[in-house]
């Protein structure tokens, strides 16, 4: 019988009750007495010099409290980047200033120039229209390769060029890789684009700044995935507010997908203005603002070469990528194309030599940063596409070519500086062949052909690195923060438990899964346990949720804290049972003395801890509350194999997804249903990237896909029913739960399967198309077939 409590139970997501009945408390639901509203006047050109911002007429409009411009923020800190990348020559990356409000220049459409604070939102917006701007338009640089040219327009005049860094990894391998490619029996080359995406969480960003003059305390309510990171970055780097005077609260958050990790100017503005005006200041983004101010994702232009020997063994990989940073460096922008991308270029394969070159470019576009998968989808896509192309060129089966090159012995140290602890790539591929019914493909292809459709099958493997990350390692790599996490397990007198966690749930279901772990450890019902998250005033210093790290890192901290609680409660039980603590066992919520029938209930022990009448006060303190910080020893390495079957309409180029199967190895699984949901959502986003989503700028830097009329989000009828399986489990060897993380896998593994499938379909119809850049819109597929 399936479990209905604890680890392995598909417990229903308890938070969904309030989300689905409209009882969620989102940041926009927070309204504080006396609050004012801010509207940001944003640039409608991509690049211009600001000569003057005349606010006189606007300031006199009804309800206006104050208008802020760039001049007000000259003495305020720059929005920081959290990761310093060192380039091929040992030099630090170029880091431009990022002011809260633009001062000298505007550098992308959407760059905020002025902020109007008024009694109502409409008044603020009216007044913003009355601001007179004197701008001198400058040529905009949008294309990364143009930006890289000598003499190109510069996004930042004080930097030497538009190059943020030129990164080589592993630089010492460069010559050896070049030589191996020269000597190879076969080299497959592929040039491709990893398309820019807009994250589009359902809830747009919101910030409310509040200031308590009597205590000199600031509170920021914000739509964040990581309130402590915001407190650290904004407090220390931008506004200079000490931690004990700054509380950051991220209540219910309606989706993040990475774009709510970062510290944004609007958060700093609301916090700053609340103190200046001595009144709360609120900002709620419109969807249009989200399109031009939320950090965007991906946007790599890559050339990859795969070298093989005469027996089709991979011998070397060389890549050259241009990675778009946009106009400013967002919080983790610099780390995404480097440490989250280069380190994954080995994939599931034992390629001995790898060299990754990344040129990060500034352009007059919205900043680019982590988006579900962050760097790992870019690595997987190019690798799995080039392997497919190689299989086609060599006339070998794409699955066999992959299997032949799989890493099979663990731990495995890759040539790109990471060590995979466990995995079994053949097992997930075996499972995939079964659940995707690959044997039945030929028959299905014939059925499609009978309807006049071309059917294609795309398969690929993927690996990713989650559980970010060992602090000492990332420190050496340039991270400006530690990446541990923390949890406090507070047992109440009656035995119920509140767990204060550093991880933040914005759709992942932590309020359900985290209690499952504690319930398993103690043997009590999940309902007795709640988690508290999203408030620096209530939780220990944890780093939040991204990179599929919550359970692997914060969950591990929670286990460590719970272990301390259990150890102490055993001492209390030992006292009550007049036995030695070493002989006490905890099972099903009862403490017993081994080999006897003496036992005491969990609740009796917890009561004794808080009503210590009969208690060993000379040996242990009363109370039952423990905190643990957990710093992971390594990344975790979820991996798997995906298959996609498509039909292509040869008359129109339209692609429909007929089947999609995913066999993942996430290590141990706490809640199988939630894991299914995470994979489903990730695949939907991957299908979105592969077929639909395209954040596109014209040559002047105007965003062409600035609303849902032009930016195509995947809808229910764009995606099939999925076959997902996570029964192949090689538990992580270095965290106490043996978990690896499942939040991003779907978005990482699926884009290459879709594209591989479409290329396969076209070949079956005699169209020798080598590659089509995502999104594979009907128009693009049709032109590829007809050129």
């Amino acid at each position: 019988m399936p479990k209905d409590n604890g680890i392995g139970a598909s417990s229903k997501r308890r938070e969904d009750v309030r989300f689905l009945t409209g009882d969620g408390q989102y940041t926009d639901d927070i309204n504080i007495h006396g609050q004012l509203y801010v509207h940001f006047l944003r640039s409608d050109v991509a690049h211009a010099k600001i000569n003057a911002v005349n606010t006189e007429a606007a300031a006199a409009m009804p309800g206006v409290q104050r208008i802020f411009t760039g001049a007000d923020f000259e003495a305020v800190g720059s929005i920081p980047c959290g990761w310093q990348v060192t380039d091929r020559h040992g030099e630090p990356m170029q880091e431009p200033r990022h002011a809260v409000l633009a001062h000298d220049k505007v550098r992308h459409v959407g760059d905020p120039i002025a902020a109007v604070v008024a009694d109502t939102y409409a008044q603020a917006r009216d007044a913003a229209e009355a601001i007179e701007l004197d701008l001198t338009d400058l040529p905009a640089v949008i294309d990364m390769k143009e930006a890289a040219k000598e003499g190109s327009t510069k996004v930042h005049d004080d930097l030497t060029s538009n190059l943020c860094y030129d990164w080589g990894f592993v630089e010492e391998n460069r010559d050896a890789v070049d030589a191996a490619i020269k000597e190879a029996a076969h080299v497959t080359t592929l040039e491709l684009v990893n398309n820019r995406l807009v994250a589009n969480p359902m809830e747009p960003r919101v910030a409310v700044g509040d200031y308590d003059k009597s205590k000199d305390e600031h509170t920021l309510y914000t739509t964040s995935q990581n309130p402590h990171v915001i407190r650290l970055l904004m407090g220390a780097f931008v506004l200079g507010i000490p931690e004990h005077k700054l509380r950051v609260i991220a209540p219910d958050v309606g989706g993040g997908f990475g774009t709510k990790i970062f510290h944004y100017a609007e958060e700093a503005f609301c916090t700053f203005a609340a103190k200046e005006l001595k009144r709360p200041v609120k900002w709620t983004a419109s969807r249009s603002e989200a399109f031009m101010s939320d950090a965007q994702g991906r946007d790599h232009v890559t050339k990859i070469e795969l070298a093989l020997d005469a027996d089709n063994n991979f011998t070397a990989i060389r890549t050259e990528t241009y990675a778009n940073m946009g106009a400013y460096l967002s919080t983790f922008a610099s780390s995404v194309p480097t440490w989250l991308h280069g380190t994954l270029m080995a994939g599931n394969y034992k390629t001995p030599l790898i060299y990754v070159n990344v040129k990060a470019m500034f352009t007059n576009t919205v900043p680019v940063d982590a988006y579900r998968g962050a760097g790992r989808p870019e690595a997987t896509f190019q690798l799995e596409r080039v392997i497919d192309k190689a299989a086609r060129e060599l006339g070998v089966d794409p699955i066999a070519l992959r299997r032949q090159n799989y890493v099979t012995e663990f731990p495995y140290a890759t040539p790109v500086a990471v060590e995979y602890d466990t995995g079994d790539y053949h097992a997930t591929m075996d499972k995939l062949e079964e659940i995707a019914d690959l044997k039945g493909f030929d028959a299905r292809r014939k059925e499609s052909e009978a309807k006049g459709k071309l059917r294609g099958l795309g398969i690929n493997s993927y690996i990713e690195a989650c559980g970010i990350a060992p602090s000492n390692l990332v420190g050496q790599l340039g991270a400006r923060a530690g990446l541990y996490d923390a949890a406090t397990v507070r047992v109440n007198a009656t035995g119920s438990i509140s767990v204060m966690v550093g991880a933040h749930s914005h759709g992942q279901g932590h309020e359900t899964t985290f209690p499952q772990v504690i319930a398993e450890m103690i043997g009590i019902p999940e309902e007795q346990i709640d988690i508290v998250h999203g408030d620096t005033g209530r939780i220990p210093f944890g780093m939040g949720t991204y990179g599929s790290r919550s359970l692997a890192v914060c969950g591990s901290a929670m286990v460590r804290a719970a272990e301390k609680v259990i150890a102490k409660s055993k001492k209390i039980a030992a006292h009550l049972l007049e036995a030695s603590a070493d002989d006490i066992e905890l099972k099903d919520g009862k403490f017993s003395v081994a080999g006897t029938d003496k036992e005491v209930e969990w609740g009796a022990v917890t009561l004794a801890a808080y009503v210590p009448h009969n208690y060993p006060l000379e040996d242990i303190e009363p109370g039952l509350e423990e905190t643990a910080f957990y710093d992971p020893a390594n990344f975790t390495y979820p991996a798997g194999a995906y298959a996609c079957e498509v039909e292509v309409d040869p008359d129109t180029g339209k692609v429909t997804i007929e089947r999609f199967s995913a066999a993942d190895d996430f290590g141990n699984v706490i809640n199988p249903m939630i894991v299914d949901g995470q994979v489903h959502g990730g695949i939907a986003q991957g299908i979105g990237q592969a077929l639909l989503e395209n954040c596109s700028y014209d040559d002047t830097g105007q965003l062409l896909s600035a609303s849902y009329m032009d930016y195509a989000m995947p809808r229910a009828d764009d995606v099939p029913f999925y076959a997902v399986d996570h029964s192949c489990q090689t538990p992580c060897t270095h965290n106490p739960l043996g978990v690896k993380g499942c939040g991003e896998a779907g978005a990482i593994g699926s884009p290459p399967s879709v594209v591989n499938a479409v290329i396969d379909a076209l070949h079956s119809g005699g169209h020798k198309v080598a590659h089509i850049d995502m999104p594979l819109t009907p128009g693009r597929v049709w032109s590829a077939m007809n050129s």
Partner: protein, 263 residues
């Protein structure tokens, strides 16, 4: 959105009177106008809602064999009530936007707006409909005057649309994946005296009749009659979602499919 007043007249006469003011604008289902107001792209001082005028709502069949649709009739009502007499139109109306759009958006609003990717203009032109306003009757062939441009005068409202019911018809919509408006849409309508073919979504001049296809299909109502007719990419829309060449190609594919489906 800027502040505005709203009037809710219950007769065409009152609506026309209210629209005499220069700062007033008609409000149908608001599915186009309200988003524009939210973006502050328009600032009428007064909106005159046509939703509460009974004589402008409903679907019926005239003795002359026309389907008569009140100008303020929502798409969802057409989807249901045109099903028996003009299934191709019902199907078209039933695939506009989402349920909210279909329950609010109206035929009059769609024709007044004349979005180059909208569906109703295609149906009106393919059937040679009569657009009835408070002042006159306008033939569809004279009504559409290029993207977002029509023969309507300031303050004139569409009170009814009369569409001659074809013997056979079909509408093929190839959706633009983001908006799900028509990337290209084609309606083919066969009458005793000939075939009419209208195309939406494709041309920079808005909805148009494809006369070569009409001639070929009037002679031989079969998809193969179109085999040798090519559409030119000149004057076709090129954007993020499709090149002029692609749109020109789709016109041919969709017209054939419409003929096959109608036959």
């Amino acid at each position: 959105m800027y502040a505005f007043e709203i009037e809710r007249p219950s007769s065409i006469a009152d609506a026309v009177a209210a629209l005499k003011s220069e700062e007033a604008q008609a409000l149908g289902g608001g599915q186009t106008l309200i988003p524009a107001l939210k973006q502050r792209l328009a600032m009428p001082e007064q909106l005159v809602s046509l939703a509460g005028i009974p004589e402008m709502r409903g679907v019926c069949k005239s003795d002359a064999g026309e389907l008569c649709i009140g100008g303020a009739t929502p798409h969802a009502v057409v989807a249901k009530e045109a099903m028996a007499d003009f299934p191709a139109l019902a199907d078209m109306a039933g695939h506009i936007g989402d349920p909210a759009v279909r329950n609010r958006g109206t035929i009059g609003g769609s024709l007044a707006n004349n979005d180059p990717s909208a569906c109703y203009p295609c149906a009106a032109l393919a059937t040679g409909a009569a657009i009835i306003t408070n002042a006159r009757e306008i033939a569809a062939d004279d009504y559409f005057q290029g993207m977002f441009s029509t023969a309507l005068e300031e303050g004139e409202i569409i009170t009814e649309v009369k569409l001659p019911i074809p013997e056979k018809a079909n509408y093929q919509k190839f959706v633009q994946p983001a908006s799900r408006f028509a990337l290209v849409g084609v309606m083919v309508a066969k009458y005793a005296d000939g075939v009419r073919v209208a195309v939406t979504g494709a041309s920079e001049n808005g909805v148009f009749r494809w006369s070569e296809a009409e001639a070929a299909l009037s002679a031989d109502f079969s998809a193969s009659a179109l085999d040798d007719i090519k559409t030119s990419a000149d004057g076709m829309i090129g954007d993020l979602h499709g090149s002029p060449e692609y749109r020109a190609h789709l016109i041919g594919v969709l017209t054939k499919r419409a003929v096959t489906a109608a036959a």
